[in-house]
């Protein structure tokens, strides 16, 4: 492509390699393969060093040469650079030497990793001249589009299945987004949204903006590496819905190696799914390079994609990095959410429970060796899925306003301080 747009070079088909201009388009005209942003790494190498990155504000945009915007970002400037926490208490419980939590439960502004992809998609949408943005979502993505669009003064249309839980709808309505409930089964909602995306001149973040949108996930990998002192972790456990996050974490690691910002060492990127929706994990365990679609039935709604668009590519990455995948039941997810909360004080949504639960299994089976180190990607806040743990975490013990009653209640737990 002739025109220079920041450090981007072109959009490129992941199947046939044909290149396209950097517009709002997402599939190859020849084979319908997905398009991906390619960069001019030679120019990036000259512009981006560890010290230039370290001098910049602590947000995902400190790696802006590797993100698909032509000039300075305009949406979501505070997104990212979430804490990487050394989780010794959880490590002890899971039986591993060293464990880290990449904590996107506190990502700004909508408390999930989706803020990363949305801020990239909306920044790029503005560059391309859009003033209306849209998405089809059952939760985190809708919240993030609504919040980020509001702060940027963009008009937002959010499409949801009409029977979505009230709490999730309120989390988008509050930002003034146009929320449209579609009556119909999941496949019909899917097809209508694809049609709307094709017909209206909007920036549909996960359709025509998808090549840019998906790149935002790489920022999680860059942050992990920088926060580990520019080391790529030997093991990373990533939750899989479409499978995109896993592929982009791997791409992020590879790019840092390519640029000489991190050294090429042991690196396995493992995948985690819920048993009630595990097409990628089942394919990985069976040694297949394709997945069979499933009808989701799990409390991990944010991972419930029965036909994952990037499933094939996620399987490829796991194969290339000699990694494993596994899945956990709803009870195991709740147990893992509780374990993370009780050991590290982090309340994650169900997807985080899937990641912790699968990490536990991979450590127990030796696929992640006990003497090694691992990073768990925790992608969303527990306040978003309170219903999943309701009735499973006990209840307060009630007493009358009486000291005697309280002393009797805790008699076997604590020593009374004598007067």
């Amino acid at each position: 492509m002739e025109k220079q747009e920041g450090f981007m070079r072109a959009l490129k088909c992941r199947e046939c390699g044909r290149e396209y201009p950097l517009t709002a388009t997402h599939v190859c005209e020849f084979d319908f393969g997905p398009l991906e942003v390619v960069y001019d790494y030679d120019r990036i190498r000259k512009a981006m060093t560890r010290s230039t990155i370290e001098r910049r504000p602590e947000s995902m945009w400190r790696y802006r040469e590797l993100l698909p915007v032509a000039s300075e970002p305009t949406v979501g400037l505070q997104v990212g650079f979430t804490p990487l926490i050394r989780a010794d208490r959880l490590a002890k419980r899971l039986g591993i030497r060293e464990l880290w939590i990449k904590n996107d439960t506190v990502n700004y502004p909508s408390l999930s990793f989706k803020d990363r992809v949305v801020s990239v998609a909306l920044s790029r949408a503005r560059e391309l001249g859009f003033n209306t943005v849209a998405c089809a979502s059952t939760g985190n993505l809708a919240n993030s589009v609504a919040a980020n669009a509001a702060s940027a003064g963009l008009k937002a249309y959010v499409f949801i299945p009409h029977d979505l839980e009230q709490g999730k709808i309120l989390n988008s309505l509050i930002y003034g987004a146009n929320v449209i409930g579609i009556k119909g089964h999941y496949d019909e909602v899917n097809r209508l949204c694809a049609e709307i995306a094709g017909k209206f001149g909007w920036a549909f973040v996960n359709v025509n903006m998808r090549p840019y949108y998906a790149e935002g996930s790489k920022s999680m990998a860059y942050e992990i590496v920088e926060q580990l002192g520019w080391q790529i972790p030997p093991h990373t456990v990533v939750p899989m819905a479409s499978g995109s996050l896993l592929t982009k974490i791997h791409k992020g690691y590879q790019e840092l190696v390519k640029l000489g910002l991190a050294s090429n060492g042991e690196c396995h990127v493992h995948g985690a799914q819920a048993t009630g929706c595990a097409p990628i994990a089942h394919a990985q365990k069976a040694g297949l390079d394709f997945f069979k679609p499933v009808k989701p039935n799990t409390i991990a709604k944010s991972l419930a994609i029965g036909t994952p668009a990037d499933g094939f590519y996620a399987l490829k990455v796991m194969k290339e990095t000699s990694a494993a995948a596994d899945d956990v039941t709803d009870d195991e997810i709740r147990e893992a959410m509780r374990l993370l909360a009780e050991t590290e004080g982090i309340f994650t949504e169900t997807a985080g429970g899937v990641t912790v639960g699968v990490a536990k299994k991979l450590i127990a089976s030796g696929k992640i060796p006990a003497d090694s180190s691992a990073v768990l990607c925790i992608t969303g806040n527990g306040l978003k899925t309170l219903d999943a743990v309701d009735g499973h975490v006990g209840a307060p013990r009630e007493i009358k306003p009486s000291l005697r009653e309280f002393e009797s209640l805790v008699a076997n737990e604590v020593k009374t301080v004598s007067a």
Binding site: H26, F32, L141, D187, A194, N206, A241, K301, A304, I305
Partner: protein, 72 residues
């Protein structure tokens, strides 16, 4: 996506005879467990919709080219 039991059936031929749509295979992968065909279906909207409904009725999983548009 075809389930295993439909892999040997000439569904695309039948689709072209039942409905006034133009079919064009862009990508395909058929194993002994599943058939995945990336099929362009062109024609009047109502015929395209009827064709999709028929495919679903016989047991084919029909997704837009983006596969999953609705995300979490």
């Amino acid at each position: 996506m075809y389930p295993q039991r439909l892999i040997q059936k000439p569904l695309i031929w039948e689709l072209g005879h039942r409905f006034k749509v133009v079919t064009n295979i862009r990508q395909a992968k058929v194993t002994d467990e599943i058939g995945i065909v990336c099929l362009e279906i062109d024609g009047p909207r109502k015929d395209v919709q009827a064709a999709i409904r028929w495919l679903e009725k016989v047991g084919v999983n029909v997704e837009p080219v983006e596969i999953s548009v609705v995300e979490s």
